[in-house]
Each structure stands twice: as C-alpha cells, then as structure tokens.
Amino acid sequence: MKTDLTDYTYSPLDDGTQMFREIDKYTASSRRVPESPLLPRPLTLSERTGPIELPRKWDVGALDLCRTSENGPRALGQLISVSGRVTDEDGSPVAGVVMELWQANAAGKYIHEMDDHMAPLDPNFSGQGRLVTDEDGRYQVFTIKPGAYPVLYSGWWWRPPHIHFSILGTSWMNRFITQIFFPGEPLNEKDLLLNGVPDNDVRERLIFEYTGTVMGEFSYIGYRRDFVLRGHRRTPELA
C-alpha cells in the first residue's frame, strides 16, 4: 500500500543512530563541519515535499552492474548480488524511489578524476548506476565485490571494500546517503568511517548481511542490507 504522504512527518534525527559529525584523524571533517550549532526550524511544505519524479526524469529501471552491456563480457571480480528493502520508520515500504550506487572495481579503482591510486580500470565495469525500488520497497543488483584501496594522503588508511548508496526519497527530509561494508574484512577494524559511530549497533547496520551462495546458470554470493529512511505517519495506526 502506498503511504499517504499528506499524513506524514519527520522528527529530527537521533544522533545516537548516526555517525559522528567530526571524526578524529578524518581530517576533512574538522575543516568542513560547521563550528556553530545547527538551528532548529519548522517543517513547511518546502521541506515536506521533494523530487519524487526523478525516476521519470532519468528513465530509471533495473540495474546490472556486473557488465556494461546486456550481452557484454562480465566485469572482473567476484560476482555478488546485493539486495534489500527500503522502509520508513513505520515499516511501510518506500516504493518507486531512485537508488544510486557507486563503488570501486575489483582492483580498488574508481572511474573518477580524483582517484590517483595506481590500480587498473576494468573496461567492463562502470561501478555506478541507478535503479528504482519496487512497490514493496525492494531493490536488487548484481555487481562484483569491490576491492580495498589506500587513502594515499593519509599515509596509513586503507578503505575496506564497501558500496556507496544514495536514495532520493519521497521528500526533502528523507534524502539518504551511506556506504555499506562487507562482513569479516580485516580492514573493517581500523576504518575511520565504519568506526566513527556511537556504538556497535550502529556499526552493525553499516555492514552487509551474508545471505549464502546461489548455484545455477548464474552462480553468485548473496548480501543483504535493508534501509530505514526517516519519516512516519503523524497519526499512529490504531491497534
């Protein structure tokens, strides 16, 4: 069932559920996070509306990142499926919204002018794309497991394998961006971002769940991550 957005509101984000704004050693945060306190403000139409037409603007459908053309050669690396469900704070599906994904290739290289790591590009891997969540809020994409890569300026920091997610929600208030890590990676223990969280529960929600292997014509390893976007009904449903 589609959520009635007119009977919908947003509470300020609970800091206990989110990453710290300033993280020791993540030096960019101390140059860019404002020093002055953030100001409270009311939510009007302007904040409670948002770009729900983007699937049409971009003509977005399904997404397959493991190749760059329908019958083209497979990208190098371990084939994985990444899937999950996007809901609001009431557990209702966030349907028909754009999700953007981007990631490094199997060698830990992005197609990006700011990436100066000396690792090879893969001509069969773009590492970026868009999809739309289905009517139940679900998404699924085949891709390859990204490689780790060094943050060269830091002198020590290696980013563990991770995939970036951006969700254009149903309003200005439930825009969502994160990056999700893989379970059991040794580099997870030292990553500044994965560990820049208030507690272990928040950290766990930044890691994919391994869902097992699938054997067949198309064999792959499964990972899952659900997302809860902010937003809830103004009037809770009667029990």
Partner: protein, 198 residues
C-alpha cells in the same frame, strides 16, 4: 503507540561521487520540452572550507517551488497546477576552484499549511568529503533582506547571520541575458553559513 524502527546510519559521499550523477541536473528549466515559466536566473557561488579554501567535488542539491510557489508533489494541494516546464530539483558539484552553478527560476512565495507565508527561497543540501551527514540550509531572495518575514528565516538568531542566507545579485557573473545571483557556502570558519538541524 506503535514502536518506530531506528533510522539507518548515513555516511559521507566520499571523494568519488560519480560526475555522471550530476550531469544534466544543473539546469532545472527544461522539462518534457517545456520551458519553465518565470524569471530564469543563474544561481552560483563557491563552497569554501576552513580558511576560505575552495572545495572540489562537493555535491549541492536544491529543491524549490516553481515561479508560482507550487511544488510538484502530492503534499502540495496545488500540485496539479505546477509548471509543466519545471523540475524543482537540481544537483551540481563544485569544480576545482570551488564554484557551482545552477540554471533555475526565481521561486514564488506561498502560504504554508499553518497559514504562515514562505518568502521566495530554495532548499539547499551540501554533501561531500568530510561530511558524514548532509548539511542543509535555505537560500532566500530579496532586495530588502532585513524586511523579510519567514518562519524558517526567523529561526536564525541575528540579522548578520540572516543576511548570509540571501543570494546576492551579481551582474559581474551574468551569463548572457541570465541574471546571476551569488550564494557562497562557507562550511566552517569566518563568515560561516547558518545551517539547520536535519
């Protein structure tokens, strides 16, 4: 009371937000081969970090009503009358020298649900390296900033800070017949832009 689920933790876009994700979204004024109504303008400025240093590849997203103050969204009771030539949403990124630019229209004023008048404004989000959570602010338009009454603007505690939220007409940046309005975003340090709680 039903128990609500905890909101998922967000994170930074990092340095490698794909350029292709911004391509084509800096111009809000063309939709389905219609041209947006109202005064077209260039909204441009720099995003600066501590020490007034330019930032590269910061992502700016904007959301605004059309020239008549209507949002293309079911929550707006006037949505059916929204301008068919206007998307309302745009995304740009900063170049190496810190500049971003949008082509959009001067937003219309409107009356909010609680009866308050919202003055012409554009919602603005900043994402990028160093920001584990997005920053949100509001860009206002007026020749007389000190006389503007707006329920969001009035949350900013003093006149000096409120003036920082107004885009300034800057003819030196005009592009052909397109008038330029400049809005610099100072993330941290002297002249810091006021940001709102998310």
């Amino acid at each position: 009371m039903s128990r609500r689920a905890l909101v998922s933790p967000g994170s930074t876009t990092g340095p490698f937000f794909p350029r292709e994700f911004s391509d084509g979204s800096e111009d809000l004024t063309l939709r389905d081969r219609h041209t947006a109504r109202g005064q077209h303008l260039l909204l441009t400025g720099r995003v600066l970090e501590l020490g007034a240093k330019p930032t590269w590849n910061m992502v700016i997203e904007i959301w605004q009503p059309d020239a008549s103050g209507i949002f293309r969204h079911p929550v707006d009771p006037r949505a059916a009358q929204a301008d068919p030539g206007f998307w309302g949403w745009g995304r740009a990124r900063t170049a190496k020298d810190g500049w971003y630019r949008f082509k959009t229209v001067l937003p219309g004023a409107y009356r909010s649900e609680d009866g308050s008048e919202r003055c012409p404004h554009i919602n603005c989000t900043v994402l990028g390296i160093g920001l584990t959570r997005r920053l949100i602010t509001t860009i206002f338009f007026s020749d007389e900033p000190d006389r503007v009454s707006d329920p969001v603007l009035s949350c900013v505690p003093d006149a000096t800070l409120r003036r920082r939220l107004f885009a300034q007409r800057d003819p030196s940046l005009d592009s052909g017949s397109l008038p330029a309005y400049r809005f610099d975003i100072i993330l941290r340090g002297d002249g810091e832009t006021p940001f709102f709680i998310d």
